[in-house]
Symmetry: C2
Subunit: 655 residues, 2 copies
């Protein structure tokens, strides 16, 4: 339990490459000001202004520019760096803080941006006011490609959602926003050349070209590349709802409302398909100045190809026997279109075929083995296997997933260098604009650390301590991951017994065991239940597990556990009428009862421990069985409360 | 305690003029759609689209336009109404809801907007899903001028703050946004004619003319007039920091950092002053299409006029003996400038002098007597006395403050008709962009009801029930009054013991007793303490008082009280280390101790009640004395917890 101002090592994420603490603190008060020395441009000045606003949000200090007598932070930047953020650009910086002032040096504006992100995380309450600890940091990233993918196709993600996630990405030094812009459920970009794409393919929910330019500029200002993905030749139902003539089946097609892998697929055999894509790419690619363009290429179903005799004949004529061959042919022609527009191609594992040039980038959802195979053949790759946020895994799982582990661990230095990094993936079947922040954050901060910090920064306990601090801190960037949870609990409760509903919500975790069952979900199914409001990991239960570890030795720890177990036990009678009267909460009534049981078991265990009494024979097994029973998933939730209770039960029985 | 879906009379605010309930409910599901029949324009279509989004936020339903098989709500509008919202326009509407469909009829788009606001408040969880109850409503406002003033001068209010407050205003049918745009502490509008006004007079914090046009259009779309205020001839230090030559003292002037009434004042005797104002008004007034223009005119200090021999000579020459005379002369000349730009003049009480024409509007901060005096002389007026949100009074106080009460109650019908309505005032000395929402809302909803609903709608208990529902509902408009409180508690606690801090925060109220002491505050003083995070009325304590009323007869009520009193008693030991270690929370440590005492006293009282035992002689007096002691303000907070405890103590002693 951290009661004092956190040490810098407890508030920073990702951890810097090198950090040395010194004596003293730089006070941050209303006089705090920032000066730019050396190179300066609009991007750097805007970033310094944002840092000021960020500190205002973190502290509530009124930092009017006019108040700055002598600037506390000077930023010495040596040059602009690339005009738009580019793969492999220099992101290093040095930060020196003394009790009198702070100095940030960087060779590029992007480096300065990274240093400002560090500085913001260091501003924390000290004993007498806000302050930054004196220290010396030298920092640069381990991997050059550190991304977050957001799927704006399955559920629509308005511009505001993208903006605030970019802001949060910058706060944890991510540098690639991978924008999944089309899929079976929607084509999300305005096309002036093929207007039916957004008119018929998007339910009216699409980004205008102006909005895309805005987001690209917004990301650039924060040192973030924007890599667009237009997933082809599969995942294209929404395209075909607008232009069935480039499909492989006769059509007509309708925007897909369900989730899954679907059959509609572009026709790879007709020149008209490539003419279409050529015109579209010529329109759309220039909106995105990044050097890389993602063509998707995953999960192609060849059923329509097999059913189309013309396509079959084409295959026979051109020695393209299988669906894989047809896709490879398709990719080669698409590569020409991408190259013609001055871009390098990125695609999912499936695109990897020996006849593609080695300047493509393979994006692996399959894993390190697939990545290693590509690297050994000269291909560069990025990892998303193990970083799927929609799988609702604990942060520790993502954190342990190193791009250079598994098969990739035995690559040569030259081959390893081809592993560029990775991307967290937020597929949006089960998230909406409302709760997407709470699914992305704070876990993505752990992935950001995995990709930025040294390979040997792996301690999950340290990670969780810091992720908790960063989670709070991120709210100052405008991201709404915590605010959403609070707001939705009020919506669910109708304002009645919200505190008691929060007791329940803090003790459960959203689980993915029911994902298969959820496949019956569609875009018409509301995501407004308790499972949609709570994170996949309970911060409260994690804290309680820490407390339980001290139960044997600390009376204070036992008092805290007793208070919480009592609260769980007594919560259900008060909460039950609210749960039973609500069509949205009725399903969680059994979990509330189970929470009461967990509390009662915990209290019994505490009783044994405090009395120094040995439980009767069979007690341990009975309690463990009971805890296992109440841990069973319900309403797509798992009760996490049994975890600390089990620790107490085992402690009681070990006496 | 409302456990079932609220009856419409429990969710509507302001209450409609006429409402008849019927049997049944109109289900609101993913198929919900809106059709516009009859007159339609961009404003109406945009409002219907916003209603859909509002319902999405209230319910979490995915309302894609494509899903609407048959629209559930049809809007039949008979005409556009005025091109921009205008004083006295027809705002009436009729709403009919059956189990099958809903129909909204209105003579104007503004009327339709008001009806949509009602419809949104009616969407609530029913036993099997979201629904609107079947009913018939005929509605129109009592007063034509129903406003909210926001002071963007003392603390800067960014565009986003204004937008979300306009959205919330529309939700409670307010129709005038009074924008206080200049004062001693800032001139907040870009002027191209006199650029030093915003360059030297705003700390760089001003609205561009494009932003002003945006806000005016945003307000218009929501049926809200925008009345700008440029406060002259006093409250002009920021003007004079830029253009000292129009001042009455030699200068130089600096932007004022403190709060209070200051001496700088425009020179009313020089033609140059009017030439300046004439050019400025010609530039700025056209930005605001409303018929009314507010010149402020309050709190003029005549010290600089007295000290300036040239001004004194001018007064002697022109028979303007006093400061009041000089200001009256000034106002007449300013009136010419306002009139020349096609606007009618509004000013605070002080401007009322018999030589002004009766088409001006007097804005009264002095009260109904002042308003009545004006009305009896033929002047129209609006009331803000009793609606000052910065006074941190209970909603019930504002609610009881009728513009036609007091001296105004005895006016003739013709005179009464000159009382146009009123405005809630959010002066911003003690609010920032962060917490301003939580000072404006939900109390302004009670003022909105006072100004819209019938004179006989006065029951505070009903008002509080509905204000509580509307407070939750308002979050769906984007206003952050509740989210802010939650976020700032996390910031204060650093995420440690936030639940325990919330227990304390829910039991205290921000008080204004220390306002005089606060006068030492300036714009450099952070507003980031607990007092800045909590409302002036505790919703939790109000609920607990309701529970306490049932303590004699209900065991469940006593159990609830016991649980809460226990929590208060046990909260302090856990919270104390957090409070003592924080420079921001240290000041509230004594209140946490007092809360524990209140809990202990409440538990003792409950003990007597449950045992049916008479307390010993002197017990009652001792407990009341103890409660009075712990109620004393501390850290600008008042502990509200003693209120329900006192009820229990008195109940125990009455046995």
């Amino acid at each position: 339990m951290v009661l004092q101002a956190a040490a810098p090592s407890e508030s920073l994420m990702p951890l810097p490459a090198k950090m040395t603490l010194a004596e003293g603190r730089l006070a941050i008060g209303p006089d705090f000001g920032i000066a730019i020395t050396g190179f300066s441009d609009d991007r750097l000045r805007a970033a310094a202004a944002r840092l000021r606003v960020r500190i205002v949000h973190q502290t509530g200090l009124p930092l009017l520019p006019q108040f700055n007598a002598a600037p506390a932070l000077t930023i010495a930047c040596r040059g602009a760096g690339p005009a738009v953020p580019a793969l492999g650009e220099d992101e290093s910086y040095t930060l020196d803080v003394t009790a009198e002032s702070a100095r940030l040096s960087a060779p590029t504006v992007t480096g300065a941006l990274r240093g400002m992100a560090t500085f913001a995380q260091l501003v924390a309450p000290g004993p007498d006011g806000y302050a930054v600890p004196a220290l010396h940091i030298e920092d640069s990233p381990r991997f050059a490609w550190r991304g977050l993918m957001i799927d704006a196709a399955r559920h629509w993600m308005p511009v505001g959602v993208i903006e605030r996630n970019l802001e949060a990405m910058a706060a944890v030094k991510l540098n690639v926003f991978h924008w999944h812009l089309s899929d079976d459920q929607g084509f999300r970009v305005e096309s002036k050349v093929f207007p039916l794409l957004h008119q018929k393919g998007s339910d009216g929910l699409f980004y205008t070209q102006d909005q895309i330019r805005h987001i690209v500029a917004f990301a650039r200002d924060r040192g973030i590349r924007v890599v667009p993905e237009f997933d082809i030749p599969g995942h294209t139902t929404a395209w075909l709802a607008a232009y069935p003539e480039i499909g492989s089946a006769p059509g007509p097609y309708k925007i897909e409302r369900a989730w899954g892998i679907f059959e509609p697929v572009l026709d790879p055999t007709r020149d008209e398909t490539y003419a279409f894509l050529g015109k579209l790419f010529a329109e759309i690619i220039p909106l995105f100045p990044d050097e890389y363009f993602h063509i998707g290429g995953d999960e192609v179903v060849d059923k329509q190809w097999k059913a189309n005799s013309r396509i079959q004949e084409f295959g026979a004529r051109n020695n393209l026997a299988t669906g894989h061959d047809l896709q490879a042919y398709f990719n080669k022609r698409v590569l020409q279109l991408v190259t013609r527009n001055g871009r390098k191609m990125v695609g999912w594992d499936e695109i990897l075929r020996p006849d593609l040039p080695t300047d493509i980038v393979v994006h692996s959802w399959r894993g390190q083995a697939s990545l290693a195979e590509g690297a050994s053949k000269g291909y560069r790759g990025i990892l998303s296997y193990g970083y799927y946020l929609d799988h609702l895994r604990p942060a520790a799982v993502h954190y342990a997933n190193d791009p250079l582990s598994g098969k990739a661990a035995s690559l040569s230095a030259a081959e390893s260098a081809r592993i560029l990094g990775g991307e967290a993936c937020m597929w949006s079947e089960y998230v909406t604009a409302e709760n997407v922040d709470s699914r992305i954050w704070p876990r993505t901060a752990a992935i950001a650390e995995r990709l930025w910090s040294s390979r040997d920064v792996t301690d999950p306990a340290s990670m969780y301590t810091r992720m908790r601090a960063v989670s709070l801190n991120l709210e100052a960037t405008g991201i709404q991951h915590r605010a959403y949870t609070a707001r939705n609990l009020e919506r669910l409760s109708g304002g009645v017994r919200t505190a008691e509903l929060a007791v329940l919500a803090n003790a459960v975790e959203a689980n993915r065991l029911d994902l298969l069952r959820r496949r019956r979900f569609t875009s018409r199914v509301p995501l407004n239940r308790l499972v949609d409001s709570v994170p996949p990991e309970s911060e409260s239960i994690r804290a309680l597990e820490e407390t339980a570890r001290n139960a044997a030795s600390s009376a204070a720890a036992r008092a805290e556990l007793r208070a919480m177990f009592t609260r769980w036990r007594d919560n259900d009678p008060v909460l039950r009428p609210v749960l039973q009267s609500s069509f949205l909460l009725r399903e969680v009534a059994p979990i509330s009862e189970n929470l009461a049981s967990a509390g009662a078991i915990g209290l019994a265990a505490l009783g044994y421990i405090e009395r120094g009494e040995k439980p009767f024979a069979g007690w341990l097994d009975a309690q463990k069985a009971a805890l296992a029973e109440i841990e069973k998933p319900c309403a797509e939730l798992t009760l996490a409360a049994p975890r600390p209770v089990r620790m107490l039960v085992e402690l009681a029985a070990s006496k």
